[in-house]
Amino acid sequence: MLRFALRRIGVAVCVAFTVAVFSFFLLHLSGDLATAIAGPESSAEQIAQIRVEYGLDRPIMAQFIDWLVRALHFDFGRSFYFQDQVTTLIAGRLGVTMALGGMALGFALLVAIPLGVVAAIRRDTWIDRSALMISVFGQAMPSFWFALTLVLIFSVKLRWLPASGGATWKHMILPVVALGTYAMPAIMRLTRNGMLDVLAADYIRTARAKGLSTAVVLFKHALRNAVIPVVGLAAVQLGFMLGGSIVIETVFSLHGLGHLAWEAISRNDYPVVQAVVLLLSVVYILVTLAADLLNAALDPRMRTG
């Protein structure tokens, strides 16, 4: 297990480095940065001045190494638009996004896994069918529409929860529910189908032949094997939720990474864009790594891979 973990961590570091290389060179080779920074109505001198000011006149490899060394110290320079260090800017936003994504995934798992298990055990009953219907509905619904519906019901009509902002935990409830609901259907169906497959397995019959109680058969022998594919799916979804929560962040006026990325892109704020892309990639790599390690802990057959 330890050797497996070390190897996976090594792979993750390599992938992170590759992503860093790509994010740097894509930006620097996609056009003249100085022209883009200066804006369309600037003179040749202004552009040349910016080029020197930002060090863009130096050889590209020198720029890259310089950037990489600073990135390793969490120094991504100064934002073009916000009068702030990129790192400070991101640090302020990261917490909101992480909290939102993490809690949304937790909420989705807490609802979807028990629902999937019950749907599998009560296969083809009304419980199974209504779980399927909810999941189809949940998947088909646009997330902004669902988010607005939640606001309409719980903030405007019932006045139970605040509609926007991120000051307290109460502010987080509706965004977490909105984002989590989006992840639920796939987890629910994968859990249900996984449970159905596993419950038909020979080793479940063996467990029952030992006289084990239904609870032990279901939770020790079946669920542990059934959730293995769910771990991978949850990792992918957490990745999406961290990077793609722009819609939800916008609806609820939460200033997270998604919102920051959107602002930075629309204002050609390259240092911020670059840092956000890199950060999200690294987070994604970490999430995948965590999923791999968790899977290996759950399934001994994966520890050799």
């Binding site: 080793y203 063996t206 032949a209 006289g211 109680s213 094997n225």
Partner: protein, 326 residues
């Protein structure tokens, strides 16, 4: 032998609902198993052997319907006891091993965890004691370095080893009855022989009763005390092994034994003889002798009712024209 049998089954029937119609997979099966004896159930694939054995343990899939006139284990009525008490018997006094050693162990848990599970469930005991017993039994079934095996996972073991683990697992609580459903079919021929000899040795030593389901008539000839022959969901003939082999009374048994000259002379691994014709459909009403369309002796009367008749000493045959030395 006047003592009550350990297990007795009378008129066991298993129905499988198939969207409107019903598959009568097992019909009117009756047999007994005494303490310490080996009953071999033979019959071609699909004849209902596995269903019968699962029915004894009440492990049939939910939608299958089990019914019987009587079914008892050591005086306990298996038809009326609640599931809670049935699960007390399973893995404790009645144990089972299955055909597929590759898939019958849970890939997520160590051998040790799975071995000790039943013991911890059925006995007031400690983990340490359970571990000790598991190691003892692993050694008993011929596994070396048992301590190390306890920490391994099923995928790290060969098929033969896994089946030995399954046997050790079934023996953890010293069962009175061990049901083995084709325990060697999935294994190499040499391993097959080893496993069966092991079962026989363990039985001699521990005095357990065994129901062995097998395709291998050579094995039957060597280790069975009594034999039950199944065909298309019915028990067509049963009785003590030696007379049954010497003078099979049912035409199906005769067909089956055609390639077997004498008990003891047949090598393990020899296939069943093949009889021309097809097994009839068992959906809808099944009447008369199920073998009559393949039977060389069949007559008009075989479409009518064919009762099970006593034949010779302790033998029973479902045939109007049972033959042989009585």
């Amino acid at each position: 032998m006047t003592a009550a049998p350990l297990l007795s089954v009378s008129d066991l029937t298993i129905d499988i609902p198939l969207g409107g119609r019903t598959l009568h997979a097992v019909r009117g099966v009756s047999f007994e198993v005494s303490r310490g004896e080996t009953l071999c159930i033979v019959g071609e694939s699909g004849s209902g052997k596995s269903l019968t054995s699962l029915a004894l343990m009440n492990l049939l899939p939910g939608r299958l319907k089990r019914a019987a006139a009587a079914m008892s284990f050591d005086g306990i009525d298996l038809l009326s006891i609640p599931e809670r008490r049935m699960s007390d018997l399973r893995g404790d006094r009645m144990a089972m091993i299955f055909q597929e050693p590759m898939t019958s162990l849970n890939p997520a848990y160590t051998i040790g965890n799975q071995l000790t599970e039943a013991f911890l469930r059925h006995r007031k005991t400690t983990r340490k004691e359970a571990f000790g017993r598991a190691v003892y039994l692993l050694e008993k079934v011929g596994i070396t370095a048992a301590d190390r095996r306890m920490k391994q996972y099923p995928h790290q073991l060969s098929g033969g080893l896994r089946q030995r683990v399954m046997i050790a697992m079934a023996l953890m609580c010293e069962p009175d009855l061990l049901i083995a459903d084709e325990p060697t079919t999935a294994l190499d021929v040499t391993i097959q022989a080893q496993i069966l000899l092991l079962l026989k040795d363990l039985q001699k030593e521990l005095g357990i009763a065994i129901i062995l389901i097998t395709h291998d008539l050579g094995v039957v000839a060597r280790i069975a005390d009594r034999v039950a022959v199944m065909y298309a969901g019915e028990l067509v003939e049963s009785g003590p092994a030696a007379p049954l082999f010497q003078s099979p009374a049912h035409p199906y048994t005769r067909g089956l034994l055609e390639c077997i000259p004498q008990p003891g002379k047949t090598r393990p691994g020899e296939p069943l003889g093949s009889i021309p014709g097809l097994v009839p459909s068992l959906t809808g009403r099944v009447s008369g002798c199920v073998f009559r369309n393949r039977c060389p002796r069949a007559e008009e009367a075989c479409s009518g009712e064919v009762p099970v008749v006593a034949f010779g000493d302790a033998r029973r045959v479902r045939c109007l024209f049972a033959e042989g030395v009585r």
